[in-house]
C-alpha cells in the first residue's frame, strides 16, 4: 500500500516535472487547526483521483488580500509581487484553491501585477471531477438523505458569480439541499470578509455570524456546508454560540466529498 503524496513545486522542478495544477493552500489552510483538515481532505481526493498536482509548501505566503481590504496597498503588493515571482518562476499555469479570498485575489488582482493563471475554486474543481466521473461517490455515506444547507461565500458568489458549482457538489452526495432565505446573489456575509476576520467587529446590536447562523439553523439543516475558511470559522462559532454544536455540524465541501469516498 502506498501513502498520500504531497509534492512541492520545488521537488517537482528538481525532477524536471511540472504538475498540471498548483494547489494554493492559503494561510488558513496551512495554519488554522480546523481548516488544515480541509486541506488534508482535498489533498487526499487529489491523490485518490490521480490528479497531477503540487503545492508551494514553505514557499507559499499570504496573497495579501486582508492587507489590501484593510487599505494597506503597499503590503498587498509586496506580497503579491513576491508570490507572482515564485509562481511565474515555476511556470504555473493553473491554480486551484480552497479559499475564495485567495481565489479572488489570484484570479482577478494578480493579472494587473503580471500574474496570469487559470484559477479555479475547489468547489469548481470538485464539480469537474464528479462530472468527469473521476470522483465516484458512494452516495450511501453518512450524509445520505440528510438536510444540508449551503452558505454562499461573498468572494465566491457575488464577487465571482460562482453559485452552482458548490451546490452541484452537495447534490452529488444524495442529500436534501435546503436553501436559506438569503442565498445566492442575496446571500448574507458571515461577517469575516474585508479583513473583519482580523479584528473585533465595530459596535452594534449583534454579530453578523450569529445572524447568519440563526438563518442557517432555521432551515432545519443537520449540517451547514461552506467553501471558505473564514466562513467555516464564523459559522462554527455561531453554531457553538447557539449551543447546537452537538447536532449541527459545519463542513467544507472537500471534507464531505472525502468522507463519502471513505478517505
Amino acid at each position: 500500500m502506498s501513502t498520500y503524496k504531497v509534492p512541492t513545486m520545488a521537488e517537482m522542478a528538481a525532477k524536471g516535472e511540472n504538475p498540471e495544477v498548483l494547489f494554493w493552500v492559503g494561510c488558513a489552510g496551512s495554519f488554522d487547526d480546523r481548516y488544515k483538515a480541509v486541506t488534508q481532505a482535498f489533498v487526499k481526493i487529489l491523490n485518490k483521483v490521480g490528479v497531477s498536482f503540487a503545492v508551494l509548501g514553505p514557499e507559499e505566503t499570504c496573497t495579501g488580500d486582508p492587507a489590501r481590504r484593510a487599505g494597506n496597498e503597499f503590503l498587498f503588493q509586496m506580497q503579491a509581487v513576491a508570490n507572482i515571482q515564485v509562481l511565474n518562476g515555476y511556470g504555473v499555469k493553473k491554480v486551484v484553491t480552497a479559499c475564495p479570498h485567495c481565489f479572488n485575489t489570484i484570479k482577478n488582482e494578480y493579472p494587473a501585477l503580471g500574474g496570469n493563471y487559470e484559477v479555479i475554486h475547489h468547489s469548481q474543481f470538485l464539480q469537474q471531477l464528479i462530472n468527469e466521473g473521476k470522483v465516484v461517490l458512494q452516495g450511501g455515506g453518512e450524509f445520505k438523505g440528510k438536510k444540508i444547507t449551503f452558505h454562499d461565500s461573498c468572494y465566491l458568489g457575488r464577487a465571482n458569480n460562482v453559485y452552482e458549482a458548490p451546490r452541484e457538489v452537495i447534490k452529488a452526495l444524495d442529500v436534501e439541499l435546503v436553501e436559506m432565505k438569503r442565498c445566492r446573489t442575496k446571500g448574507l456575509c458571515c461577517g469575516a470578509g474585508g479583513a473583519q476576520m482580523f479584528k473585533e467587529p465595530e459596535p452594534g446590536k449583534k454579530d453578523i455570524n450569529i445572524e447568519r447562523t440563526e438563518e442557517a439553523l432555521a432551515t432545519g439543516a443537520q449540517a451547514i456546508a461552506v467553501g471558505c475558511p473564514f466562513c467555516l470559522t464564523m459559522m462554527t462559532d455561531g453554531v457553538k454560540n447557539k449551543e447546537r454544536e452537538n447536532d449541527v455540524k459545519v463542513y467544507d465541501l472537500a471534507e464531505m466529498i472525502a468522507k463519502d469516498m471513505g478517505i
Binding site: T3, Y4, V6, C27, G29, S30, F31, D32, K36, T39, Q40, K44, K48, V55, G57, P58, E60, T61, C62, G64, P66, A67, R69, A70, G71, N72, E73, F74, Q77, M78, Q79, V81, Q85, N104, N108, E109, A112, C154, Y155, R158, A159, N160, N161, K186, L188, C189, G191, G193, G194, A195, Q196, F198, K199, P201, E202, P203, G204, K206, I208, I263
Partner: protein, 445 residues
C-alpha cells in the same frame, strides 16, 4: 386674439431652459471634481447593461411589489411626456390640442391611454406615500433619511399626484365645455377616466369651467417645467442619471479591487524588479486613497448623484443589519452632499475643496469604513448599479497609507504579514506542517 399668453408661455419656457442649463452645468462640474477614469471599453456590453438595468428595470424586480408600482410611474412618466410635446407646441403657437384634428380617433385613444397611466401613477404614488409614512417600511426610516431626504421623497410623490390630477381635471372640464357647444374646444369622444370626474364640475358656469381648464393647463405645463428644475436639486435625478450611470457600470468581477500603479512602481523598486515606468516619475503623485471627493473617480460622484435613496443597499448590508453605524446609502448621500457643498463654495468664490472640511471625518467616519465586510451585497442590490464599496475601500486606503489610522488589530495583522508572511503570528517554517500526518497515512483501496 391677444398674443399675451404666447409671450407669457415663451418667457416661462425660456426661464426654465436657462435655469436647467445652469443646473446641468453645475452638476456636470461637480461630477468632474472626481479624478479622471476612462470607462469606454466594451461598448456593446455597456449598452446592453443600460438597456437591461436602466431601461428594462431588471434589478428593480428583485422586489416585485415596489418594482411593479415603480414601473407604472416610469411608463407613465415616459408616455405622458409625449403629451407635453403637444402642450409646448400649443403654448408657442397659441393653438388648442394641435394634434386632435390631425390624428382623429387615434388622438382620443392616446388621451385615454394617458389618462389610464395618469391613474396608474396616482395609484402608485399614493401607495408609495403610505409605505413611507404609514406602514413605514424600515429602509425609509433609517437615521440618514431624517429631515430633507424624507421631505424630498414625499414632495416628489405629492407633486406627481397633483400633476396627474391637473391633467384629469383639464380633460374633464375641456369636454364639458365641448358638450356645452363652446367652439374653441374639440370633441374627443369618450375619455373614460376624466369623464368620471365630470359630475364635480357640471354645476359650474362656462366662465368658471374655462378658468379651471386654462388654469390646469398652465399649472400642468409650468408644473412640469418647475419639477424638471426641482429634480436637479433632488434625489429624483435618477430619472435621467440612471442611464449614464448604468452605461458606466463596473463590468469587472465585483471582487476585483482596482490596482494602484503608483504603488506598483515603488514595490518593484524595493524588490529590485526592473520596471517599465518612466525614469522621470510624474511630479505629483497625489494622495494614496481618498480623503475627499476629488480623490474619488468621477464615476463615484456620478453614482452619488444617481442615487435615489431607496435604501436597498442598506437593507442588505450585513453591518447595517446588525446595528453597525455603516449604511451604504449614507456613503452615497455623503459623497453627493460633499460634492454639492464644494460646488456651491466654488461658485460663490469660496475656498471650494480647501474649506477645511473633507469627506473623511466631516461626513464619513472611520467607524463606518471599518464596519464594512466588502461583501458586495450593496453593489448587488442597487437597481442602478451604484458601487458604494469602491468608495469605502478607497477611503480605507487613505486611512491606512496616509494616516496610519487603521485599528490596532489590523496593524498587528499587517505586522504578522510583514514578518511571517501570514495574517496570523505563525512561524513561516511551520507552514507546510499540515502535510506531515497525511504523508504517513496509507491510501485505502
Amino acid at each position: 386674439m391677444s398674443f399675451l399668453p404666447q409671450v407669457a408661455f415663451l418667457i416661462i419656457l425660456a426661464v426654465a431652459a436657462f435655469i436647467l442649463t445652469k443646473r446641468v452645468r453645475f452638476l456636470k462640474r461637480n461630477i468632474l471634481l472626481g479624478k479622471a477614469e476612462t470607462r469606454n471599453d466594451q461598448p456593446e456590453a455597456r449598452w446592453k447593461t443600460m438597456l437591461l438595468v436602466a431601461f428594462g428595470q431588471q434589478k428593480m424586480f428583485k422586489r416585485f411589489i415596489p418594482a411593479f408600482l415603480h414601473l407604472l410611474i416610469y411608463v407613465g412618466f415616459v408616455v405622458i411626456n409625449l403629451e407635453v410635446l403637444e402642450f409646448i407646441l400649443d403654448g408657442i403657437l397659441g393653438t388648442h390640442r394641435l394634434f386632435a384634428p390631425i390624428l382623429g380617433s387615434v388622438y382620443t385613444a392616446a388621451i385615454n391611454i394617458f389618462e389610464f397611466l395618469a391613474m396608474a401613477v396616482l395609484f402608485s404614488c399614493v401607495v408609495f406615500l403610505i409605505r413611507r409614512n404609514i406602514t413605514k417600511v424600515p429602509r425609509f426610516t433609517k437615521p440618514e433619511m431624517k429631515g430633507w431626504p424624507a421631505l424630498d421623497a414625499n414632495l416628489i410623490l405629492v407633486i406627481e399626484i397633483i400633476l396627474m390630477m391637473a391633467i384629469l381635471t383639464m380633460n374633464a372640464t375641456d369636454q364639458i365645455l365641448v358638450a356645452r357647444g363652446d367652439e374653441h374646444y374639440i370633441a374627443l369622444g369618450t375619455l373614460f377616466f376624466s369623464s368620471l370626474l365630470q359630475p364635480l364640475f357640471e354645476g359650474m358656469s362656462d366662465g368658471a369651467l374655462v378658468f379651471i381648464e386654462r388654469f390646469t393647463w398652465w399649472f400642468h405645463i409650468a408644473g412640469i417645467l418647475a419639477f424638471a428644475v426641482y429634480v436637479t436639486y433632488s434625489k429624483h435625478l435618477h430619472i435621467f442619471l440612471a442611464f449614464p450611470n448604468t452605461w458606466y457600470s463596473n463590468l469587472k468581477p465585483k471582487g476585483e479591487m482596482q490596482n494602484m500603479p503608483e504603488v506598483t512602481n515603488e514595490v518593484n523598486m524595493m524588490l529590485g524588479i526592473p520596471t517599465d515606468a518612466p525614469a522621470d516619475p510624474p511630479a505629483e503623485i497625489g494622495r494614496f486613497g481618498a480623503k475627499d471627493i476629488n480623490d474619488l473617480s468621477w464615476v463615484n460622484i456620478l453614482n452619488a448623484y444617481s442615487c435615489t435613496e431607496c435604501g436597498r443597499c442598506t437593507s442588505e448590508c450585513p453591518a447595517n443589519l446588525t446595528g453597525k453605524k455603516l449604511s451604504p446609502r449614507k456613503i452615497m448621500m455623503d459623497v453627493r452632499d460633499r460634492a454639492e457643498e464644494v460646488g456651491k463654495s466654488i461658485d460663490a468664490g469660496g475656498p471650494g475643496l480647501e474649506d477645511g472640511k473633507s469627506l473623511l471625518g466631516d461626513y464619513i467616519s472611520k467607524e463606518e469604513l471599518n464596519a464594512c465586510t466588502s461583501c458586495n451585497a450593496c453593489v448587488e442590490a442597487c437597481p442602478v448599479n451604484i458601487d458604494p464599496l469602491s468608495i469605502i475601500l478607497e477611503m480605507r486606503r487613505y486611512v491606512a497609507m496616509e494616516e496610519s489610522g487603521t485599528p490596532a488589530q489590523w496593524n498587528a495583522m499587517f505586522q504578522n504579514m510583514e514578518t511571517s508572511f501570514s495574517p496570523w503570528k505563525f512561524s513561516p517554517q511551520d507552514r507546510f506542517n499540515w502535510a506531515d500526518s497525511v504523508k504517513e497515512e496509507e491510501i485505502p483501496d
